[in-house]
C-alpha cells in the first residue's frame, strides 16, 4: 500500500487504456453495499428453483410468490399485527415483572450480606436449568395458559438483572459512601445520589440482556405451548398445517422485532448515560 502511494497516480494506471471518467462515488458506494445483497438474493433464487422441481420439494420450499400472498393475507386480516402485539406485550410485561424483582433483589443482596447469603446460592442453583427446561414442570403446575407463559418470561428477565444490578450496586466506591456519610445523607439520598448512578450502567447492560432473553423465551414458550395468540403460536399452528410461507414470515418478523427492540434500547441507553461521556 505505502509503495503505491509514492508513485503518481497516472503511473500506476498507465497500463489502463480507457480514458473514461471514473464512476461517480455514489455509484461505487451503492455497488459496494449491494454486494451484501447477493447472497440472500441467490439463496432466495435457489429456494424458488427448489419449489419448481416437483410437488414433494414444493411442500417445504414454497414458491416466493406464495410467501408474498401469505404476507398480504396476514397483513390485511390483521393477524400479523395481533400476534406480534401479543408477543411484544408478553415480552415487555415479563421484562417489567421479572426485571423489577431482579433489580430489587439484586440491590438488597448488594446492600445486605445477610440477604445475599440467604438467597444467593439457591438462585445460583436455579439459574443452571435452561429456561425452557422448566416448561414441563410449569406446564404441570399452571397449565399452558397465560400465567405459565408470563411466569417463564419473567424468570428469563429476572436472572440477568439480578446479576447485573447486584454487581452494579456492589461496586459503589467506599470513598463516595464516606463522603455521603460526612454529608449525613439520608438512606434514600445515599441510594439516589451515590448508589444508583454507580449501578446505572450495569443495570442498563442487564436490561439489554434481559430484553433479549425475554424476547427469545416469549417465542419459545409460545412455540412449545402452542396456545393463545403470539408469533410463536402462529408459527406453531402454521408448522402443524405445513404452511411454510407463514413460518418463514414469522421467522423474519421475530428477527426484525428483536433487532428493533435492541435498537430502541441502545438509543435509550446512550441518552441515559450522556453524563458519563461529558463528565
Amino acid at each position: 500500500m505505502s509503495l503505491i502511494a509514492e508513485f503518481p497516480p497516472n503511473f500506476v494506471h498507465a497500463d489502463r487504456i480507457d480514458d473514461h471518467d471514473p464512476p461517480p462515488a455514489w455509484l461505487v458506494a451503492l455497488v459496494k453495499r449491494a454486494r451484501g445483497l447477493l447472497l440472500p438474493v441467490l439463496l432466495a433464487g435457489l429456494w424458488h428453483w427448489a419449489s419448481t422441481i416437483d410437488a414433494s420439494t414444493a411442500y417445504a420450499f414454497v414458491p416466493l410468490d406464495q410467501i408474498g400472498d401469505r404476507l398480504l393475507l396476514l397483513l390485511s386480516s390483521g393477524e400479523l399485527a395481533v400476534n406480534a402485539g401479543s408477543s411484544l406485550g408478553r415480552a415487555l410485561t415479563g421484562l417489567a415483572l421479572g426485571g423489577l424483582s431482579g433489580i430489587v433483589l439484586g440491590s438488597l443482596m448488594a446492600g445486605f450480606p445477610m440477604v445475599e447469603r440467604l438467597f444467593g446460592p439457591l438462585l445460583q442453583a436455579f439459574r443452571q436449568v435452561p429456561l425452557l427446561g422448566w416448561l414441563p414442570l410449569v406446564g404441570l403446575w399452571l397449565g399452558s395458559g397465560e400465567g405459565a407463559k408470563q411466569l417463564l418470561v419473567a424468570v428469563a428477565a429476572f436472572h440477568p438483572l439480578l446479576l447485573n444490578s447486584y454487581e452494579g450496586f456492589a461496586q459503589a466506591e467506599k470513598k463516595h459512601l464516606e463522603v455521603g456519610r460526612v454529608l449525613m445523607l439520608s438512606r434514600w439520598r445515599t441510594f439516589r445520589f451515590i448508589l444508583l448512578p454507580t449501578a446505572l450502567p450495569s443495570i442498563l447492560t442487564g436490561i439489554g440482556q434481559a430484553l433479549a432473553f425475554a424476547w427469545i423465551s416469549t417465542i419459545g414458550v409460545e412455540l412449545l405451548f402452542g396456545t393463545g395468540a403470539g408469533l410463536g403460536s402462529l408459527m406453531h399452528t402454521a408448522q402443524m398445517a405445513g404452511d411454510m410461507g407463514v413460518v418463514v414470515l414469522c421467522v423474519v418478523a421475530i428477527g426484525l422485532m428483536g433487532y428493533g427492540l435492541n435498537l430502541i434500547l441502545s438509543l435509550v441507553r446512550a441518552r441515559l448515560l450522556r453524563w458519563r461521556v461529558t463528565g
Binding site: 439463496l43 425452557l132 427446561g133 404441570l140 414469522c250
Partner: protein, 252 residues
C-alpha cells in the same frame, strides 16, 4: 465463630424451608399426586429410571446429538469466522446476511427446520449446529481481528506461507476468545436441544420430560429438570476449567 456459622448455615435456611414446606404439603392428606409428590418419590423415580436403563438411553441420545451437532457447527463457525476476518471479499458478500440471520433466536428456526428436514435426527443436529455456529464464528472473527497488526507484518516480512501464518500465528493468538465462543456455543446448543426434544423426539432428556408431563409423572419431570440443569452446569464448568488450563501462558 458465630460469623463462620452464619456464613455456612445461612445459605441452607431457605432451601431447608422449601424442603420442609414440600414435605409438609405432601404428607398425609396433601396435594394430589399429579401436582406434587414427596421428595422421596422423586428419589424413587430417579432410581427406577436409573435401574431400568431408561435414563442412560435418554442421556446417550441427547449427548450424542449435542456433541455431533456441536462438532459440525463449531468447526464450520471456526472456518467461517477466520474467512470473515481475513478476507474483505468474504466480509462484503456474506457479512450483512450473517448479521441478519444472527438476529433471529435459534429457537425460532425450529418449525422451519422441522418442515424442511422432518422430525428425525436431521433437524435436531441442524438446530444444534446452528446454535453453535454463530457464537463460535463471531468469537473467531473478533479474535482474528484482534490480532495485532505488528505480528502480521512480521509474518509478512518473513514471507511465511498462509498455512504457516494460520497455524503458527492466527490459531494460537485466537485461542482465548475462541474458547469463550465455544463455551457459549455449547451451552446455547444444549438449551436449544432441550427445546427441540420437547417439541419432537423419540428419546432424549427433553422427550423424557415431555412424556412425564403428558402422563402426569411429576417425579420424572423433576428428575429431568434437575438433570438438564446439572448437565448445563457441568458443560459450562468443564469448559471454564479447560480455558484456564489452556490459556495459562497468558497470565504467566
Amino acid at each position: 465463630m458465630p460469623s463462620i456459622l452464619h456464613r455456612r448455615l445461612l445459605p441452607l435456611v431457605v432451601p431447608g424451608l422449601i424442603l420442609a414446606a414440600w414435605i409438609g404439603a405432601t404428607s398425609g392428606e396433601g396435594a394430589p399426586l399429579q401436582v406434587l409428590v414427596p421428595p422421596s418419590a422423586v428419589i424413587d423415580g430417579f432410581n427406577e429410571l436409573l435401574s431400568s436403563g431408561e435414563l442412560a438411553d435418554h442421556l446417550r441420545a441427547s449427548l450424542w446429538r449435542l456433541l455431533t451437532g456441536f462438532a459440525i457447527g463449531a468447526s464450520l463457525g471456526l472456518g467461517f469466522g477466520i474467512l470473515l476476518a481475513r478476507s474483505a471479499l468474504v466480509a462484503a458478500y456474506t457479512g450483512p446476511f450473517f448479521q441478519a440471520v444472527r438476529q433471529v433466536p435459534s429457537i425460532a428456526f425450529l418449525p422451519m427446520l422441522i418442515l424442511l428436514l422432518g422430525v428425525d435426527e436431521g433437524f435436531k443436529l441442524a438446530i444444534v449446529a446452528k446454535a453453535a455456529f454463530f457464537p463460535v464464528a463471531l468469537a473467531t472473527h473478533d479474535g482474528v481481528k484482534g490480532i495485532s497488526k505488528g505480528w502480521l507484518e512480521v509474518a509478512a516480512i518473513y514471507r511465511l506461507s498462509p498455512v504457516r501464518v494460520l497455524l503458527r500465528l492466527i490459531l494460537p493468538a485466537t485461542v482465548p476468545p475462541v474458547l469463550t465462543g465455544l463455551r457459549l456455543g455449547l451451552t446455547r446448543a444444549w438449551i436449544v436441544l432441550v427445546a427441540a426434544e420437547l417439541m419432537a423426539a423419540e428419546n432424549g432428556i427433553g422427550q423424557m420430560m415431555e412424556m412425564g408431563r403428558q402422563m402426569f409423572r411429576i417425579d420424572t419431570v423433576m428428575v429431568g429438570v434437575a438433570l438438564t440443569g446439572l448437565i448445563g452446569f457441568a458443560l459450562d464448568q468443564g469448559f471454564r476449567l479447560a480455558e484456564r488450563r489452556l490459556v495459562r501462558w497468558k497470565t504467566a
